[in-house]
């Protein structure tokens, strides 16, 4: 098959034929309303749609984009991230998420969060642990929220720092500019509004590293000053707790599956699940963009079931995670080599040799790349990476 056809068939296969049944049902309802509303006769039947079209055209041309809530794009470095992506700032390095409207979220070293929602109307970040700073560009039509444990921090200011300790079940908020409204947990239903220069902490443990409680606005039926919220508390998106993580994973709701697994206690699950379930959990975590969680599940699989065939495949997937999610080429090289050492003729051997070759080449490891190219051509002279291998050997 020609390469272009191979590519486009793969694209078609991955894309499928359209949205799922629930969306089609909603489309049907929308079309049914159109059908019922359509004027049946009369020479003025085009007046409304023409007028509406004229208004829309006027808005599209003359209303500046900033006055609407345009599509928002988020990036980490050069990589765009989508809703559901897992954000993890490794050990000693912060992580910056920059948005196309110049909003910014900075995760402190060691912090982990998920970009739960990213659309024109709302940005929601689920903070799993650690500290982050949110500096949204305030504009019409878009809400910013940080969800930490049972708490929701609604941001309508220019800069706020939020810290969440899942072990101590403690939230700390420091507002540098603008204001926020904190809801949920034991906070009164109206919420607690925190203004510029104020700090707030709530939870089981409020230590030195958290905000001083003396500066916090009171909780339990009290509001801060005259800025108490009057809106009704908004329901947080709920994971359907009655569904197991496996059911959610089977339904393709991988972010929710991972969240449910974490609520059940991720570390404990890793010691309890069998090899097949660990594989599924890792797969869901990977699809949810949570490289750290996927890696943990795969390492547990290899440790607990070293003789399982899945343990071998796990080495290959760990290499892919290192490349795709963790941007760690050295780790990827090591895992590809481990896979090949364990499975020199395995089902993924050709792909592992090819990707190893490419990783070494990209890292400028000239002599190792040449050795890998030679090895590749020896095993797979007509493989999909053969032309790269030959190019490396010719140079």
């Amino acid at each position: 098959m020609a390469p272009l056809e191979s590519l486009t068939r793969a694209v078609a296969r991955q894309l499928g034929e359209g949205p799922g049944p629930e969306r089609r049902a909603r489309q049907r309802l929308a079309v049914a309303r159109i059908g019922r509303a359509a004027p049946r006769s009369g020479r003025w039947r085009w007046a409304v749609p023409i007028a509406a079209a004229a208004l829309l055209l006027f808005a599209w041309i003359f209303v500046p984009p900033a006055a609407r809530a345009p599509t928002l794009i988020a990036r980490v470095g050069e990589q765009s991230v989508m809703a559901g992506a897992w954000l993890a700032a490794r050990g000693d390095e912060p992580l910056a998420v920059v948005f196309s409207d110049r909003s910014r979220v900075d995760l402190a070293a060691g912090a982990e969060a998920r970009l739960a929602q990213l659309d024109a109307a709302r940005v929601q970040i689920d903070l799993e642990r650690g500290k982050l700073t949110v500096a949204p560009i305030v504009g019409p039509g878009r809400a910013w929220e940080v969800v930490a444990g049972p708490y929701v921090v609604e941001i309508s200011g220019a800069r706020v720092e939020v810290a969440w300790d899942p072990q101590g079940h403690t939230l700390a908020v420091e507002v540098q500019d603008g204001s926020v409204l904190v809801r949920g947990g034991e906070i009164a239903s109206e919420g607690a509004r925190i203004g510029a220069g104020q700090r707030f902490a709530v939870g089981d443990e409020v230590g030195d590293e958290m905000a001083a409680r003396a500066e916090a606005p009171p909780v339990r039926d009290e509001c801060v000053g005259d800025a108490c919220a009057t809106r009704p508390a908004r329901a947080r998106p709920e994971v359907r707790r009655s569904e197991s993580w496996t059911a959610l994973a089977d339904a393709g709701e991988h972010a929710a599956a991972l969240a449910e697994a974490e609520r059940q206690g991720y570390a404990a699950l890793l010691e309890r699940l069998d090899a097949e379930q660990l594989d599924r959990l890792a797969h869901s975590a990977r699809l949810a963009g949570a490289g750290v969680r996927a890696r943990e599940a795969l390492l547990a699989l290899r440790r607990r079931f070293p003789r399982s065939s899945r343990a071998g495949t796990a080495a290959f997937v760990l290499a892919r995670i290192s490349v795709d999610l963790e941007r760690d080429p050295a780790a990827a090289i090591a895992w590809f080599q481990r896979y090949l050492a364990e499975n020199p003729a395995g089902p993924l051997a050709e792909e592992a040799r090819g990707r190893l070759l490419r990783a070494l080449h990209d890292e400028g490891e000239v002599s190792r790349a040449r050795a890998a190219a030679d090895d590749y051509l020896r095993h797979h002279p007509d493989g999909s990476h053969a032309s790269l291998a030959r190019k490396i050997l010719e140079n």
């Binding site: 020609a2 272009l4 894309l15 929308a30 359509a38 999610l325």
Partner: protein, 228 residues
């Protein structure tokens, strides 16, 4: 079957099979579809409020698939499908031949998608807006698959609207050339030119994308001339 003609000589008779049940079934299905289309037109002309639902039930699979494949699981997919049905409902009563319903639906869908592509190109040039593929619905959403889809459609975003449509219908949706020409309301020669031009442009764009280039570079084995 052999029939005896004269002693020592046998004539072989040719057995003519009866018409296949499959062929009968196909004819019946076509006739039924025409009857249903005619009924739909009658309801549309009469202004029956059920027209929208009936039209959707008949045509949504076709419309969803065309929009999905050309724009690639776009985040505004549902809005565009609704736009298509607004246009279909507006024009349905003027359709003369019920047998032409599906061809007409395809043409209206493609027109709607073309307008959207052109509008986005203008907005991208003026405001630098880019759209993302919504892969929540993609059946296979591994990191590698996601990357491939995004990169392919990012490359397709760079094609002119007519070329992009021709390319997507030919290579991703695997439609016959005659069908594409008819749905785009152009000649076969024009569609062939658009596909060739789109291919060349796609290859040039893909050559600058390492992931796509790798997929396409393992020799131009054989012909991938989509006009064959």
């Amino acid at each position: 079957m052999l029939a005896r003609r004269d002693p020592g000589s046998w004539m072989r008779l040719r057995i003519v099979p009866p018409p296949s049940e499959d062929a009968d079934e196909e004819v019946r299905a076509r006739e039924q579809a025409q009857v249903e289309a005619a009924e739909l037109l009658r309801l549309a002309i009469a202004g029956d409020p059920r027209t929208g639902t009936l039209l959707f039930d008949r045509c949504e699979a076709q419309v969803n698939r065309l929009v999905w494949r050309v724009l690639g699981a776009d985040e505004d997919h549902d809005d565009l499908v609704q736009q298509v049905f607004v246009a279909l409902l507006a024009g349905l009563r003027r359709l003369r031949d019920p047998a032409a319903l599906h061809g007409w639906v395809a043409a209206v869908t493609i027109n709607t998608v073309r307008s959207e592509i052109r509008r986005r190109r203008v907005r991208r040039l003026l405001f630098g807006e880019a759209r993302a593929i919504d892969l929540a619905e993609a059946p296979s959403a591994s990191a590698e698959d996601r990357e491939l889809l995004q990169r392919t459609y990012a490359a397709l975003d760079r094609l002119p609207a007519d070329e992009r449509i021709a390319f997507a219908l030919r290579f991703i949706d695997e439609r016959p050339l005659a069908w594409i020409a008819d749905s785009c309301r152009v000649s076969l020669a024009t569609i062939k030119r658009r596909i060739s031009s789109a291919q060349a442009r796609f290859h040039r764009i893909a050559a600058r994308d390492p992931a796509l280039a790798e997929r396409l570079q393992s020799g131009q084995k054989g012909s991938d001339d989509g006009t064959a």
